[in-house]
């Protein structure tokens, strides 16, 4: 089961409000390669994972992605805090505001709602590991695109941290894949 801890994984700071960036950041909230997709993907892949090591990797990374989801939501909330009518209109964010106010919602930067068709599990550990490694790479490049769209050093710090975690996750999935390939069918020694 999951137990909530009342903190974010890292401190989330912003220099000031930036409605445009708040809108962009939603890509990692409800986008195809966002943190919600990642978490749901890994956590539902655990039940066909035959090796305990893989169950631990999927559980722990899936849990960390939930923590990242909270970071992205916090970042969004701080970026949009205090936005005026004119700022919302200038950023093309007024239609979103009418539907969701200042809350983050599971949509991507273009406003498309999250759908479970973004993710997959095929019930095979090797296939699922390739899916997960691809997902981490897509999430990493999305963070790099976001980094190009802001000059706020505090926002950049948060995005860089999250991007680095995608690389670490990719590494762990790659090692899990290798262990599955080399060890499945062999007895433990």
């Amino acid at each position: 089961m999951w137990i909530y801890e009342k903190k974010t994984q890292i401190p989330v700071k912003v220099s000031g409000k930036d409605v445009r960036m708040a809108k962009n950041v939603l890509e990692q909230y409800g986008g195809a390669d966002g943190e919600l997709s990642a978490s749901l993907r890994y956590l539902t892949q655990r039940y066909a994972m035959p090796i305990n090591l893989g169950k631990a990797v999927l559980t722990d990374i899936g849990t960390e992605e939930l923590a990242h989801l909270e970071i992205v939501a916090t970042l969004y909330s701080k970026l949009i805090e205090g936005a005026t009518k004119q700022e919302l209109i200038d950023a093309g964010f007024d239609a979103y505001y009418i539907d969701h106010g200042f809350n983050p919602f599971y949509v991507n930067a273009a406003g498309n709602p999250h759908t479970v068709t973004y993710i997959q599990t095929k019930g095979d550990p090797v296939v699922d590991m390739y899916e997960d490694m691809a997902a981490e790479q897509k999430a990493r490049i999305t963070y790099e695109h976001l980094l190009k769209m802001t000059d706020d050093p505090h926002v950049k710090n948060v995005l860089k941290y999250l991007r680095e975690r995608e690389i670490v996750h990719f590494q762990r999935f790659g090692e899990t894949l290798r262990i599955i390939n080399e060890c499945m069918g062999k007895s433990a020694k």
């Binding site: 305990n52 680095e164 090692e175 080399e182």
Partner: protein, 216 residues
């Protein structure tokens, strides 16, 4: 050697220790976007692809014994030796904390000469320790009271009950973790390897009899 080092850095103990939280964030600033991409792509992808292709072709003809021996020996020996020796010697003075943090994370684990223990989907699922069921019941009781307290913060009876159950749960959880390993990543009780290798929730079978009730 030692005297010189001390002379050159008389203020060493007084140096401000860098903030442990901000360090890992600073690191990617220096790296251009391209740098870390190379590492993860090369290692995990190449290995699983190479081996299944090479082995079936070359094995039956010439070298059935050599190939599987060479690979696991070469790679685990070269990499772990080079990295920890080179970097701590070159830059211990400039960046004492950054290097040891980065390396253990990004360095891939050694190619397994012995495979870690694993379980195939188990039809004879292990039976739950009754202590686990008891912990579940205590946690649910606390959860239910906590929800009630969210909207009734001044109910002293609920507050004292929550307090008592929480302290009892803490004792039970510690005892369970000493036996079965930690229940979460941040616990310091029990053998950590058991976190991975003890049965996962969906591998556990619960008996129908043996209900345990929590007194409130």
């Amino acid at each position: 050697m030692i005297e010189r080092f001390d002379d050159r850095f008389p203020n060493l103990p007084n140096r401000p220790t860098p903030n442990p939280i901000e360090r890992p964030i600073e690191k990617p600033i220096e790296n251009p976007i391209n740098k870390p991409i190379e590492r993860p792509i090369q290692k995990p992808i190449e290995k699983p692809i190479e081996k299944p292709i090479q082995k079936p072709i070359q094995k039956p003809i010439q070298k059935p014994i050599e190939k599987p021996i060479q690979k696991p020996i070469e790679k685990p020996i070269q990499k772990p030796i080079e990295k920890p020796i080179q970097k701590p010697i070159q830059k211990p003075i400039e960046k004492p904390i950054q290097k040891p943090i980065e390396n253990p994370i990004l360095k891939p684990i050694e190619s397994p000469t012995t495979c870690p223990p694993y379980t195939m989907p188990n039809r004879n699922k292990p039976q739950a320790d009754p202590a686990l069921v008891r912990i579940m019941q205590y946690q649910f009781a606390i959860y239910d009271i906590a929800l009630y307290l969210d909207t009734h913060p001044n109910d002293t009876r609920a507050l004292t009950t929550r307090q008592r159950l929480a302290s009892e749960l803490h004792e039970m959880t510690m005892a369970y973790e000493e036996k079965h390993g930690p229940m979460n990543l941040f616990s310091h009780h029990g053998d950590y390897a058991k976190y991975v290798n003890e049965p996962w929730p969906w591998d556990i079978r619960f008996s129908k009899e043996g209900k345990i009730n929590v007194d409130i």
